[in-house]
Amino acid sequence: MKASVLTEKYGFEKLSVSSQDPEIKHAFIGDLLSWVMGHAKGDDAWITILGHPNIIAVALLRELACVIIAHDAQVQPETIEKANQEDFLILKSSLSAYEICKILISEGV
């Protein structure tokens, strides 16, 4: 599915100014960076509550599709700034990781 479906159909908030509308092929849930580095796959949507700029470094190194912040968790301005610099998409939702996954599955991910 295209990431834009999450904003247009489900009201997810777009936090970074990215021209990208990546294709989400799988998803990974995790709040420990090493687990994400070690186990996420390219083109994953990464669902997390971490808001530190290091999430962008990890997402770019692993070539993830986008980051989805769950539970409306706080994201540092530096994180958004870094994502903007890298043209990388961060989305945010008040839903839990489980509920976000249910949406992704219903959309064929």
């Binding site: 420990l32 960076l33 090493s34 070690g38 997390t48 700029p53 470094a57 990890v58 190194l61 692993r62």
Partner: protein, 138 residues
């Protein structure tokens, strides 16, 4: 032969991953395959983070030979790893609360590195730790 040095500062969380990104970009431009790049990126990031979290600082040296051997050396100036066997155990970590707040300290750093590189040499003393990891890239 390419030989490049990068400086790593203690607890510089804001720049964590910067060196790994630079190295990945450089190797990508040289035509290294995405499968090998993925393994190098994971290993390099983990080792860079380890230096930021645990060491007093140090440097990363990237060497690439004409024969297609890529070596990454992470050399810090201490305080050394007290128990290497424990450090190599998945899930075991001595990371401080400040590092854990940022999502570090999963205890997967060294195990992730060892799993992804072709060669792995770790030497440590209170004066410093040196990790050398190798990859066949071409």
């Amino acid at each position: 032969m390419i030989h490049q040095h990068f400086r790593v500062e203690k607890e510089d969380y804001a720049n964590a991953g910067r060196i790994s990104s630079q190295i990945k970009q450089m190797l990508k431009q040289l035509g290294v395959s995405s499968e090998v790049l993925r393994r190098i990126a994971i290993s390099c990031y983990e080792a860079e983070i380890n230096m930021i979290i645990h060491s007093y600082g140090g440097e990363v040296v990237l060497s690439l030979t004409a024969e297609g051997q890529c070596e990454l050396k992470f050399a810090d100036i201490g305080p050394g790893i007290e128990d290497v066997e424990k450090a190599m155990t998945p899930g075991w970590s001595t990371a401080k609360a400040s590092a854990r707040e940022f999502g570090f300290g999963a205890g997967m750093g060294l195990p992730n590195i060892k799993r992804n590189c072709d060669e792995f040499t770790l030497t440590t003393s209170p004066e410093g730790t040196t990790l050398v990891i190798g990859f066949r890239v071409l």
